[in-house]
């Protein structure tokens, strides 16, 4: 082929591509008339036991449904959430079954008509997970179903606590402060925080906000972007005072959360830090960073203490989960696959893998990991579970909020700045 014809072909292909993109149509040929269907499935399992579990689930589903092929792929979580899925949705070539994050992102996707409503086809499955499905609902309709849901708490090194003379995990903020003081002499950082990644630092502020703001205030913030209550500034003031006690490891602004021995999870894993505030997945992350890749014996969990006299519910917890939803254009088999993923059988398998807390109550008994059992107990004891605030507020406000919070951590911002930034971001929506 000479150069000119190559160029012409390429030009033609380019034009066709652009035309397809402009038309917003899906070039994938799912659901042919002969009964052969391919379901593409994107999830965020890239390490640990989960990739194998999902692969097995896909194979079992294929076996039970002749003519259906399931192509499952795991992608790194942030890459999947921030780049791959938004781009796939915008280009009109979305995977059939994919990870759906609740809160602001879900509301955006629903408003654009990207997601399939699941209430008719999966009513039983939805009711089986109870209230944990609520974050995946918009105006009472369900667009995603969580297969795991858990809350945040402190993961700590029981040996270091014992050495520092702390017999009981802190139950109030004052006791937490005392624990920090006691741990300072122990040769390890009292608390590790992966502030370099922004969100782990931001979670500290979320916790203070959760314990300072009433559930009604939180609700108003999520739905109307109303941050006028004083509790939002108070949360920053409390955090500022807490940071001033220097509870965190040295150089925390540059510390990653989950990658490598120098990350906050790594510091806990190798005994250089006594505790870390982190979500329910942390046992697996810490386990992956020890030399033998086992969850360390010393690892324990306690819920986030309440603040005496504050407006917030002391037993409220902050949490989140992972859920799947179907693209609006997916074939009906997508819902069937989701139904299978949510079946008691697969949920038990998930629980037994120690990767997280299942959402179907009957699968709880398969939890073997003692720390996950503690987290599950904490979840049951929580009077109210607030979704991670950045997720709840959506990408734009969430990002501005996290930027403001890390400024506070770095000492270059004030508690008021955080609220101002959030309001300014909300005003652009």
């Amino acid at each position: 082929m000479n150069r000119r014809s190559t160029t012409l072909v390429a030009l033609g292909a380019g034009t066709a591509l652009v035309a397809a993109a402009l038309a917003g149509c899906s070039p994938s040929g799912d659901g042919g008339g002969d009964g052969d269907v391919t379901i593409t499935w994107w999830h965020n399992a890239t390490s640990g036991p989960m990739p194998a579990v999902w692969e097995e689930v896909a194979a079992e589903f294929e076996e039970a449904h002749p003519g259906v092929k399931v192509e499952q792929t795991g992608y790194q979580n942030e890459e999947l959430q921030r780049t791959l899925i938004p781009n796939a949705l915008a280009s009109g070539d979305a995977p059939d079954l994919f990870q759906v994050w609740p809160g602001g992102e879900l509301r955006d996707q629903v408003a654009n008509g990207y997601l399939m409503e699941l209430d008719d086809s999966l009513a039983d499955t939805i009711s089986s997970v109870g209230a944990t499905a609520t974050p995946w609902q918009v105006d009472g309709k369900t667009y995603g179903i969580p297969f795991t849901f858990g809350i945040e708490g402190f993961w700590y090194n029981a040996d270091l606590f014992e050495q520092a003379g702390i017999s009981e995990p802190p139950a109030t903020l004052d006791e937490l402060n005392d624990a920090v003081t006691a741990l300072k002499g122990a040769g390890a950082a009292p608390i590790a925080v992966g502030a370099g990644d922004k969100w782990p630092a931001a979670h500290w502020w979320y916790q203070f906000a959760l314990k300072s703001c009433s559930p009604e205030t939180l609700q108003a913030a999520e739905l109307e972007y109303d941050f006028s209550d004083d509790c939002w500034v108070e949360a920053g003031e409390q955090l500022e005072a807490f940071i001033a006690t220097e509870p965190f490891q040295e150089g925390f602004l540059g510390t990653a959360a989950q990658q490598g021995a120098g990350s906050s999870a790594g510091l806990v894993a190798n005994g250089q830090a006594a505790m870390e505030l982190m979500g329910h997945w942390n046992a697996g992350v810490i386990g992956g960073l020890t030399p033998d890749e086992e969850v360390p014996e010393f690892l324990r969990w306690f819920p986030v203490p309440g603040i005496d006299g504050a407006d917030g519910d002391p037993t409220a917890a902050l949490g989140g989960g992972d859920g799947f939803g179907c693209s609006a254009e997916a074939p009906p088999e997508c819902a069937e696959l989701l139904e299978y993923i949510m079946s008691e059988e697969v949920q038990k398998k998930f629980a037994a893998s120690g990767s997280g807390i299942p959402t179907v109550p009957a699968a709880m008994e398969s939890l073997e990991d003692p720390n996950l059992k503690l987290v599950a107990e904490g979840l049951q004891n929580a009077s109210f579970v607030q979704l991670w605030l950045d997720t709840a507020f959506g990408t734009t406000v969430g990002n501005a909020m996290n930027e403001g919070i890390v400024n506070l951590f770095a000492g270059t911002g004030t508690p008021e700045d955080i609220v101002t930034k959030m309001q300014a971001a909300a005003d652009t929506l």
Partner: protein
């Protein structure tokens, strides 16, 4: 193909920059008059301290590259241009950082520069423990650390360019000058470096464009928080805001500003460099 893959995206970015687009973007959004915001995204960018600091960082790196990497590269190239033992091996070693993939080099430095990483351990071992720093975690020094890594990575490329340029400088000139009693330093100063002019100007051009577009090394080595505090560049700010903060319209406006700044710098420089190359030492203002 050029139209489809180059011109169209540029035009689309310019179009997006006049809209306030949601993270979950759809083509219909462009038809929504409420989403058309005119120059608001540009006003916002140019009044946001973080973005202004990002522009400042780009130009700081640009200036430092020209002032430090340039003379360093010329000096080393002049030394390496002399006949000596192990010259080829030295040249190879100097070029290695440039050949390494940006991400690999960045991750390697990131590990070495951890608080308990290799660099601090080395300082401790040679008795310079007082110089230990949180190289990439301290917002006050992260930009300088970053420039150090960039110098390590790109000086090799400059040296190779200069060495190539030196091959075009006739040895006879130097020999003649030395017969006339000129010292080695005088020969370099008055003969070699002026004749190296075109190479230096091309290198400077590449270096300036590289500094303005700087993205990957910052993205890989500096934690997002520290980046926000002190080392954001125009390109990292663009990705952070356009992609991660879910504001494609605002991100597009940043992209257009980045494009315009690069274009202006490139045009001004080319004209300036072209004039110098044409008119030689006589700069009478004649084009």
């Amino acid at each position: 193909m050029f139209v489809g893959f180059v011109i169209l995206p540029v035009v689309l970015a310019a179009v997006y920059s006049f809209y306030n687009l949601p993270a979950a973007f759809k083509w219909e959004n462009l038809a929504d008059p409420e989403r058309f915001v005119g120059f608001d995204n540009y006003v916002r960018a140019l009044t946001t301290p973080e973005f202004l600091r990002a522009i400042g960082n780009n130009f700081t790196i640009l200036a430092l590259s020209l002032l430090i990497q340039g003379p360093l590269a010329i000096g080393i190239a002049l030394l390496l241009n002399r006949r000596m033992r192990g010259r080829s091996a030295l040249r190879l070693l100097i070029f290695v950082p440039y050949v390494l993939a940006e991400v690999i080099a960045g991750l390697a430095w990131k590990l070495l520069l951890q608080p308990n990483g290799g660099v601090n351990a080395l300082l401790e071992a040679v008795g310079l423990g007082a110089l230990q720093q949180n190289w990439l975690a301290d917002p006050d020094i992260a930009l300088w650390t970053l420039f150090g890594i960039l110098t390590w990575k790109y000086t090799g490329f400059a040296i190779i360019l200069m060495l190539a340029g030196l091959q075009g400088v006739p040895e006879e000139l130097g020999e003649a000058a030395s017969i006339d009693g000129a010292s080695w330093w005088q020969i370099q100063r008055h003969i070699t470096i002026p004749l190296l002019g075109p190479t230096i100007r091309i290198w400077a051009f590449l270096s300036m464009i590289g500094a303005l577009q700087l993205f990957d090394m910052v993205w890989v080595t500096v934690a997002p928080t520290v980046r926000q505090m002190s080392t954001e560049t125009m390109a990292t700010y663009m990705v952070q805001q356009g992609q991660f903060a879910g504001q494609p319209g605002y991100g597009s406006a940043i992209a257009v500003i980045l494009f315009l700044i690069s274009l202006v710098v490139a045009l001004v420089y080319q004209r300036f460099a072209l004039r110098r190359d044409l008119a030689g030492a006589v700069t009478s203002g004649v084009r």
